[in-house]
């Protein structure tokens, strides 16, 4: 069958659409090019006056078939694809994927690499929360906050750029550690950021936290009760805003999070304002984590696991020993074959629990690659929140879930 894009597509008006014209209710099509839907989210709202009677989020406009692509790529080739799912926190996606493959292979990265993975993951969390705060406040009407947020985000992107050369799609981590050396000036850049950022965060809170417009637009809006939050499978700040203490870093610690001292902020009302408070406190805790890591991380040592068939041999031994040169060649040309089995690895992404479920049949490519993205699941709660709410609050509700459509649609 051949599709010719040069011919116009016939447009049919469905019977349902024709029927709604005769009813009292009105169907409002919000998106997929609406600026406050954070990408290509389309929401079909049925309105009675200004009150929403039903809400149907319509997703899939950015579907690229990442799971199908994962089945046709070797394990190491899939790392760049994880950047493209949630593109505002790419290092966190890398981290979840490489941890899943390492669990499948039964290997662990060296300690220095684990510390740097935590640092990069927490920097990505702050960068993601800054994008969230800027756009969320912009939707509700606070225009200047987005400029402040992107001011501090630039510093984080500079750190990413210094380390791996890319600012957005970082492709930073490799199975078994890092394939790049840490630049000598990177620890100082991270330390400087940790000193600068609290002042910037004070700016945001000065503008928002006691602002009467912000309070009236967020307090008591989009309330999710704790039982409902669990039933909808929410994770991340959406769940913790309702007062449920579930953070993967504390509940099932991965990397070296069990050595670090940090707290999990909880909300009490489950409304938009509580989720805002939780995310602001998470940024403060992330700075605390980064400061501990940068003090504890060894200044020298391996960044990549040596001597394993599952990892790429380090550059120095490739050039000096024949075995590692052969292994490097085989690793690049043929990949590696993990044992048969299946693993599910979850990490605490900035938006919630990010899980990778990998089924291996013993071949160099995954048999099944499943991305359990947090915002796909969290977005399900939008119809619950919007039911009976006012039309103007829908933008606050979409913003508070913190969606990135690349991650929702995969």
């Amino acid at each position: 069958m051949v599709i010719d894009f040069s011919q116009p597509t016939p447009v049919e008006i469905s019977e349902e659409r024709q029927l709604t014209a005769s009813r009292r209710e009105m169907v409002l099509n919000m998106g997929p090019q609406h600026p406050s839907t954070h990408g290509v989210l389309r929401v079909l709202l049925t309105l009675d006056g200004e009150v929403i009677t039903s809400c149907d989020p319509n997703i899939g406009y950015l579907h690229r078939g990442v799971e199908k692509l994962g089945e046709s790529h070797r394990y190491s080739q899939f790392v760049p694809w994880t950047d493209r799912t949630d593109y505002v926190a790419a290092p966190s996606n890398n981290l979840g994927y490489v941890l899943a493959v390492e669990k499948l292979c039964g290997i662990e990265a060296p300690e220095r690499a684990q510390y740097w993975r935590i640092i990069m993951g927490e920097l990505a969390r702050i960068a993601s929360h800054l994008v969230w705060l800027g756009t969320h406040a912009l939707d509700i009407g606070a225009l200047s906050i987005s400029l402040y947020c992107f001011r501090e985000r630039e510093l984080i992107l500079d750190i990413f750029e210094k380390f791996c050369g890319a600012r957005l799609t970082t492709n930073m981590m490799e199975i078994g550690g890092f394939s790049r050396p840490i630049p000598p000036e990177l620890p100082e850049m991270v330390r400087t950021f940790c000193q600068v950022f609290p002042g910037g965060q004070q700016d945001y809170e000065d503008i928002l936290s006691k602002n009467p417009i912000w309070l009236s637009r967020t307090r008591g809006i989009g309330v999710i009760e704790p039982e409902v939050a669990i039933s909808y499978g929410l994770t991340g700040a959406c769940l913790r805003g309702s007062g449920i203490n579930y953070d993967v870093r504390k509940a099932q610690p991965y990397l070296l999070y069990d050595r670090l001292d940090f707290e999990v902020p909880l909300g009490s009302h489950g409304d938009v304002f509580d989720r805002y408070l939780v995310r602001m406190e998470e940024m403060r805790q992330a700075i605390k984590i980064i400061e501990q890591c940068i003090d504890q991380v060894p200044t020298d040592g391996d960044l990549m696991l040596r001597g394993s068939t599952y990892t790429i041999p380090p550059h120095d031994t490739v050039l000096t020993t024949a075995e590692d040169m052969q292994r490097h060649f085989i690793w690049v040309i043929k990949g590696f074959s993990p044992p048969k089995g299946e693993v599910y690895q979850a990490i605490e992404h900035s938006k919630g629990e990010l899980g990778y479920y990998i089924v291996s049949d013993g071949s160099p490519m995954p048999y099944r690659m499943r991305l359990r993205t947090p915002d796909f699941v969290n977005l399900q709660s939008l119809p619950y929140m919007a039911q009976g709410a006012m039309l103007a609050d829908v933008v606050a509700m979409i913003g508070t879930i913190d969606i990135v459509l690349g991650s929702v649609d995969r």
Partner: protein, 205 residues
């Protein structure tokens, strides 16, 4: 501030519980409390339990899947209350029958344990939907239907979610679906479809 918001109760300061050391659960299938409970309660539906990399997988009969998940949620000692993921795997290259595996990832927030429940389903068979017990299953089951064509009984709104509503090419995550689809596309400005590139790397059989 309006009167409505002034009536909200006072907001306590943000707190965090102090967690004890993480509990990961026993690794022997026979010692796992969830395996023991499911096997005792559903002796005919329980098939087997596998442990791989400290992750427990319970295989159950397809028709009793919802009962097992509800039992694990409501059991006072198990309390697997968070439905993390519902997905499927096309097992056509690994075994003859049944063709698909429905994979349900569960997590217990009070006990901090993960559990995976699997059920085999063949082409044309239906699976009891989990939406009546977990609202989170709604979109996940729609995605499984979209990608694999597996039909869930009692699902309130089973239609495609990621692909277009009028997608008529089948279900892409089945193993017999080609990576680039069945169709040939003529891009604007061209008269014939772009040539297909054969990948050199083949999966060893």
């Amino acid at each position: 501030m309006s009167e409505e918001h002034a009536q909200l109760p006072a907001r306590p300061a943000l707190t965090a519980e102090s967690w004890a050391t993480g509990y990961w659960g026993p690794t022997e299938p026979d010692l796992h409390p969830a395996v023991y409970a499911v096997r005792e309660r559903f002796p005919d539906a329980f098939i087997d339990a596998i442990n791989f990399r400290d992750e427990m997988t319970i295989r159950v009969e397809r028709a009793r899947l919802r009962e097992v998940i509800a039992f694990l949620r409501d059991h006072p000692d198990q309390r697997y209350n968070l439905l993390t993921d519902v997905t499927a795997v096309d097992m056509v290259r690994l075994r003859d029958t049944p063709r698909f595996d429905i994979v349900v990832q569960l997590y217990s927030i009070p006990n901090r344990v993960r559990l995976r429940v699997k059920a085999g389903v063949d082409d044309g068979e239906t699976v009891p939907s989990l939406v009546p017990i977990h609202a989170a299953a709604n979109w996940m089951e729609r995605e499984v239907y979209d990608m694999f064509g597996i039909v869930f009984e009692d699902h309130p709104d089973l239609r495609r979610i990621l692909l277009a509503d009028d997608w008529d090419e089948g279900h892409p995550l089945r193993k017999d679906y080609p990576l680039r689809g069945f169709r040939e596309y003529v891009q604007p400005g061209f008269t014939k479809p772009a040539p297909r590139i054969r990948t050199r790397l083949r999966r060893p059989q």
